[in-house]
Amino acid sequence: MTISRRTLLKTAGVAAVVGVSQTLFPAWMPKLVFSPTAKAQAERDVLVAIFQRGGMDGLNAVVPYAEGVFYYDRRPTIAIPEQEVIDLDGFFGLHPALASLKDVYDTGALSIIHAAGSPDPSRSHFDAMAYMEKGIPGDKATTTGWISRHLQSAAWENDSPFRAVGIGTMVQSSLRGPVSALSLRSIADFHLQGREDHLSSIQQTIARMYQIEAPNDLLQAQARNVFSTVDLLQALNASDYQPANGAIYPDSDFGMGMKQIALLIKAGVGLEVACVDIGGWDTHEYQGGSDGEMANLLRDLGDGLAAFYTDLADYMHGVTVVSMSEFGRRVTENASQGTDHGHGNVMFVMGGGAVGGIHTDWPTLAPEALDDGDLEITTDYRDVLGEILVKRLGNNALDQIFPAYTVNARGIINER
């Protein structure tokens, strides 16, 4: 391709639009104070919620290789051969591209929940994602996400703009709601630009036009977030972040997202919940087996999680990471050497509190055990999230976060 991102950036650099290096806030503007006390943070985990968009094929991620023909005969071109699976317990094994996660697993900090997911039968990406992120399967009227309701119903105060952060250009549905979340694509170079001798007036005028001292709508609230974020990130020196313990994050959107979350956790800026996405799981054709398209995605996922674990070794006792995907995929591969939309799937929970190992009420892949040709769901994803919320995040208001559902804790995580 002839378009070079570097050239373009250079072009922008040539432009004399000058970034601000001196303090951003003119004297007239009151500082937006926040108070993430060290004590408050110590009382509960930081939650990192990963959404694997597209519907991960859980049966090739954590392979029930001991199912034998029920697995291998239905997947003639994409099954992971038994000798290539990284065995976990004599029945399940990790996809070889998840090798770096095996190291985490061996420390006991990874719990794997199989045959999990959202009970709604929808095989639509968009419905299934919305149901999962809003936390109310089957209900389309709800406009708030489960994480937003968690923050709303929490008993404590935290007015840090970094309380809830979504990595990406759009706010995740789980974060949408009354507690406005910060969404960032990159925290390096996050500053307001303009002619240097006009900059103070520019800030003042924009701040007033958006009424950031008393925001009146979503846009004004986000404008206020911009100002406080710029100020804080400048103090953190975010562009120079070096991961600890030799951790190397994959050079991918997901890897960069995890790295930025690690930075925010270490900086102690009041982060409670972070959301990050990893897309591309809709493997309808040529998904590959031990190598190929899905293997690359799994490598990105596993390496990103492992780097995060290594980087945050000293913090992991207060961090819980949970992954989910809108649905699993059909047990039987299709004519395009891929898999269509299915049902049950795998969730990963990583952190100091995790009860390591495989947690599953395995429904088996026997023909009569399948749900419409798919892996049955025996663990509602809300059981996993609910247990984390109660045991690690100190929020018992599950009736508000997951209304009309009774969470059944499965022992996947320890009490703090």
Partner: protein, 497 residues
């Protein structure tokens, strides 16, 4: 579900809360510019919604024709002369060359073709006289979303032969063209769907996203049956990547689709019959009209307008022009001012329109990458549902800052050290004697209207260093005008429409 009193109250407080939030999102303050002597607020509203940004020519035209006359003029896009686009295509004809020609170039250099496609899209959106048509091209591009990077030349053909050909035509033609478009057949895998193992991807999405909507009354069984009906619909490689029905791979057994029996032994005709059922289905009228009304009114489409638009749809057999005319002249539309938040591409193109015709683009890539940084790379959305059309999806901390930086950066083109293009600011904004006149001219050029008195005063004070409205010298104007224009691009007025 049995619910005790405590639970009930809790749920009650939750819904009060979401109501409070909804009312905030519906806030009806001074979001868009005020009317001027030459443009009423109703006219301003119509122009905001049916163009990619208001220009002086639009204002003159709506004054000459009135709102109804303007809408009819804009809908009759085939008869609108479009000299700038014709000149653009004459100078840079690659986009409209035959398939083999583009394909041969793309094989050598993907980037040339890719850039040409994107440049064509920006140019048409910004400078075509057929603005409502270009707005609808954008709508259908999302509705029948196909990302460009994997299907470059096929996607260009899809844009030409499906989206642009039928954007203001009949929905049935649009749907049939899309169903046989190689880019769509590849993207949603129908080209890889064979009788032994049907691939359900297209069958599902054509119902969920293109026609009936997810609640439109089909079942998982219908998805499987439609996938079987459409087996063999594929692409013939080597024949200009044209649609090709492969009877060998078609499932000729009996099927039942949406309650209708499809007898055994048929070929392509049963796929055509199934698509026809979808095109004429009442759920399709309802679903597509809901999206259209959302596009032209706001996040919460008024149900009365959805219903009446769906009736026009049914009566006119999915005539897109008639449905649009109905929506744009409805009281619900007129009432819905300032409810829409400009998506990044709109924001970017609107700036180009605010500069027209005194702006020359030197480096289109610079402009494209700016849109990408705001989260809306054209043809860059990977899932099949297209970029979201609701406010909550687009207002975010990070992209708001990027917007401000872009809005502040683009007027700097006047100095010529900004390499993306050159702006003739003196030609764009007339000479004035006072700071107040300067602010008014910039606001009208950018917004089509005026800002509130308080904001006007604040902008005047930026120009005069806080001494209020007074005469300004040419040097003062020169020193302030770019930042002043940047502030108007960055104001809330320019974000809503």
């Amino acid at each position: 579900m049995p619910m005790n009193r405590r639970d009930f109250l809790k749920l009650g407080s939750m819904s009060v809360l979401s109501l409070a939030l909804a009312s905030k999102l519906q806030w009806s303050g001074a979001r868009v510019a005020k009317a001027t002597q030459s443009l009423s607020s109703e006219q301003l509203h119509v122009l905001n919604r049916v163009t990619w940004g208001i220009t002086r020519a639009d204002i003159d035209r709506i004054n000459a024709l009135g709102i109804e006359g303007y809408v009819d003029w804009a809908l009759d896009a085939d008869n609108i002369p479009d000299p700038l686009v014709e000149q653009f295509v004459a100078t840079d004809p690659l986009y409209w060359q035959p398939y083999e020609h583009i394909e041969a170039i793309a094989r050598d250099d993907f980037g040339i073709v890719y850039t040409a496609a994107l440049h064509h899209r920006y140019f048409c959106a910004a400078y075509s006289e057929k603005q409502l048509y270009e707005v609808m091209v954008e709508f259908w591009t999302d509705h029948f979303n196909i990302p460009i990077e994997d299907y470059l030349v096929d996607k260009i053909m899809d844009d030409r032969e499906v989206i642009r050909r039928h954007a203001l035509g009949k929905f049935r033609d649009l749907l049939f063209a899309s169903a046989q478009s190689p880019a769509m057949l590849y993207y949603l895998d129908n080209a890889y769907s064979y009788k032994d193992h049907p691939n359900e991807n297209y069958a599902r999405e054509v119902m969920e996203l293109h026609t009936l909507g997810v609640d439109g009354g089909y079942t998982e069984q219908d998805v499987r049956e439609l996938a079987r009906i459409l087996t063999g619909w594929g692409v013939r490689d080597g024949f200009n990547n044209r649609f090709y029905f492969d009877s060998y791979n078609h499932d000729t057994e009996e099927k039942v689709f949406l309650g209708r029996a499809f007898p055994a032994g048929r070929g392509i005709e049963e796929g055509l019959e199934a698509l026809d059922m979808l095109a004429t289905h009442p759920s399709t009228a309802n679903y597509v009209c809901t999206k259209l009304v959302r596009r032209f009114t706001g996040d919460v489409p008024p149900q009365t307008l959805v219903d009446s638009a769906a009736r026009v749809w049914q009566e006119s057999d999915g005539d897109i022009k008639r449905v649009l005319r109905h929506i744009l002249l409805s009281p619900e539309f007129t009432a819905a001012t300032g409810q829409k938040f400009k998506r990044p591409l709109h924001f970017q193109v609107n700036i180009l329109r605010a500069f027209a015709p005194h702006f020359e683009i030197y480096d289109e890539n610079w402009i494209i990458w700016n849109t990408e940084a705001l989260g809306q790379m054209p043809w860059g959305w990977h899932p099949p549902n297209g970029y979201p059309d609701v406010t909550t999806a687009w207002i975010s901390t990070g992209t708001l800052l990027e917007r401000w930086n872009l809005g502040m950066g683009m007027p700097q083109a006047v100095e010529d050290w900004w390499e993306g293009g050159r702006l003739e600011m003196d030609a764009l904004i007339p000479q004035v004697t006072t700071a107040g006149e300067l602010v008014d001219h910039v606001a009208r050029q950018v917004l089509g209207g005026e800002v509130t008195d308080a904001d006007r005063e604040m902008l005047i004070n930026f120009v005069t260093d806080n001494v209020g409205d007074q005469p300004i010298s040419y040097e003062q104007r020169l020193d302030r005008i770019q930042t002043l224009m940047g502030l108007v691009f960055n104001s809330p007025y320019f974000q809503w429409y």
